[in-house]
Amino acid sequence: MASIQYKKASCIYPGSDKLAVDSLSLDIQDGEFVVLVGPSGSGKSTALRMLAGLEDIDEGHIEIGGKDMVGVPSKDRDIAMVFQNYALYPNKTVAENMGFALKLRGVSAEERRKKVEDAAKILDLTEFLDRKPAKLSGGQRQRVAMGRAIVREPQVFCMDEPLSNLDAKLRVQTRTQIAALQRRLGTTTVYVTHDQVEAMTMGDRVAVLRFGKLQQFASPNDLYDKPANAFVAGFIGSPAMNLVTVPVTENGVKIGDGTMELERADLTKISDAGLNEVTIGIRPEVLEISDSVGVDVVVDLVEDLGSEAFVYTHAGSGVELVARCNPRTAPNLADSVKLRRHPDGTVHLFHPKTGERLN
């Protein structure tokens, strides 16, 4: 059983009194693929390294399979880690790299060879077994790093931005391979990335971190549809959700020179909170270009991606809005158009000061 619990775990930067990870609490099920995502400096790598035993747990606890890991050295935690820079042993061949952990455990050479060959077959590394890492490409080295982790059959996989050093196409390819591999092996995996696309496509659940604090821990769909605060709302989704702080009116909010209507229930929540301003969040796909009603905007830029186009605009008071549209019917630069909220589209409301979700 390899469930993982972070129980108010904290880590202090050495030589400072700032918390790198601030009271992180996560409950990870056995076999789950959890992604830790966040901008640089959010503490996600530190949180992973605390799990692996490479950073001290200064406050709180981390439990693996119910056992407290405070004070337990890395080599006794039965965790395999894939590093961002792969950390392959340069003087050992691929086969020796992959078999090192087993050798340390005293596994016989015969059995070691078999396990290494099995893993190499899964990862397509069989022809490279006798090469040294210096003679491999980036993608091949990444696979060796994964192979080294798989061969150990550990309780937990830790992966620290393993795809960052690969080119874009290889990244997409390897992303699916890692996800498929994890599903096949069923090992609990904690994966760190700054790329929210990786987070959304690979994770069973995703934990968004900012300045060491957990913002939200939910499935990708929940993060997308119901972000807990303005930060998560703006972080997940590309292009980012439109987030503007606007004054509240009788029936809705004032955007630019026009008014966008809101639901009764939402307006009640705003007035209950005693606010006359609110941060409104609308995803680009919820805004559409209309001829009749809507907010008056001027087109600044049109990004044509082939299957869809994104129109970057600004409204009267300097408010910037991004809308999605059909590339064949996209407006031109400097056109004046109207943007309207799709009637079924969700409007997210956040507190203008704290960023907390209101609806």
Binding site: L54, P73, K75, F83, N85, A87, N91, F100, R105, R148
Partner: protein
């Protein structure tokens, strides 16, 4: 637009090619050759003289062409260079082994396991090299004399070890710093204890650096003269001190002196030759760090 651009590149291409050609005979290359030859010439002359008879060696103007003879080398060995050679080998060998045994763990601690006082420790090591050897010789002589270790090869062993240790630690530290920290982390996650990680992961990576350091220590210890001449007499005499004996008062025997000097210099020249790539690498890494 495109045609004019192509034309201009064609025009510059031959100019670039001719520039490259002329670089072959640049004045700086010539200077380098001259300087190199200037440094090499005395050594060359010494080795040449070692093969001359005394008569040939003493001519004025000096002779470049002569019949070579091995008589001088025979004379050197007959005059008993053996004990001095053994002393040099002993002092150099033992001190280098001690330097490696002490210096490698020290460098490891100061690089891969730094603590708050690491910089202070490093400075302390380096500061021992800042004292001129001449200033230290008086107290050292008194101490060595008082403990009855004058003319004892072990005094030299101890002094050479402490003389080379700072350099060795400094050099090896720069090699240890080259090892990516992630490798140690990966080894520890794989289940390796500290000793195991050092043996299987770090040492193979650092071994060229250790070899370069060992060679530097050998060169310094072998050539060391000041401690040897002051603290030894007959029994513990090393090769550099033995050479002094050839500078006789009653007239110079250039040829036999050159032969003795050649024999003394030979081990170090060979060491340097075999290790030249590693030495450059080792010394320049220290500079970058």
């Amino acid at each position: 637009m495109t045609t004019t651009a192509e034309k201009s590149t064609e025009a510059t291409a031959p100019a670039v090619a001719s520039k490259k050609k002329s670089r072959k005979f640049s004045p700086w290359g010539l200077v380098a050759w001259l300087v190199g030859l200037g440094f090499f010439f005395p050594v060359f002359w010494m080795v040449l003289t070692a093969f001359k008879s005394e008569g040939d060696a003493a001519t004025n103007p000096p002779k470049l062409f002569f019949t070579p003879t091995l008589d001088q080398f025979k004379a050197v060995f007959e005059q008993g260079i053996g004990p001095a050679m053994l002393n040099s080998i002993f002092a150099t060998g033992i001190s280098t082994i001690l330097v490696l045994l002490l210096g490698v763990p020290a460098a490891f601690a100061l690089s891969l396991r730094p603590v708050r006082k690491t910089q202070d420790g490093l400075f302390f090591f380096m500061s021992t090299k800042m004292l001129p050897i001449v200033a230290a010789i008086l107290p050292l002589y008194v101490i060595v004399s008082n403990i009855g270790m004058l003319d004892n090869i072990w005094s030299l062993v101890i002094l050479y070890t402490s003389m080379n240790l700072p350099i060795a630690v400094w050099m090896m530290r720069s090699f240890f710093l080259e090892v990516p920290g992630e490798l140690l982390e990966a080894a520890s996650l794989d289940g390796a204890s500290l000793m195991r990680s050092v043996r299987e992961v770090i040492l193979p990576l650092v071994s060229p650096g250790i070899a370069a350091t060992a060679l530097i220590c050998v060169i310094f210890a072998w050539n060391e003269f000041f401690f040897a001449v002051n603290l030894t007499a007959v029994n513990a005499q090393t090769m550099p001190v033995y050479l002094v004996g050839f500078i006789a008062g009653e007239g110079q025997y250039w040829a036999v002196l050159s032969a003795a000097a050649t024999i003394t210099a030979l081990p170090v020249i060979l060491c340097g030759w075999f290790a030249q790539n590693k030495l450059v690498r080792g010394l320049s890494f220290g500079a970058i760090k």
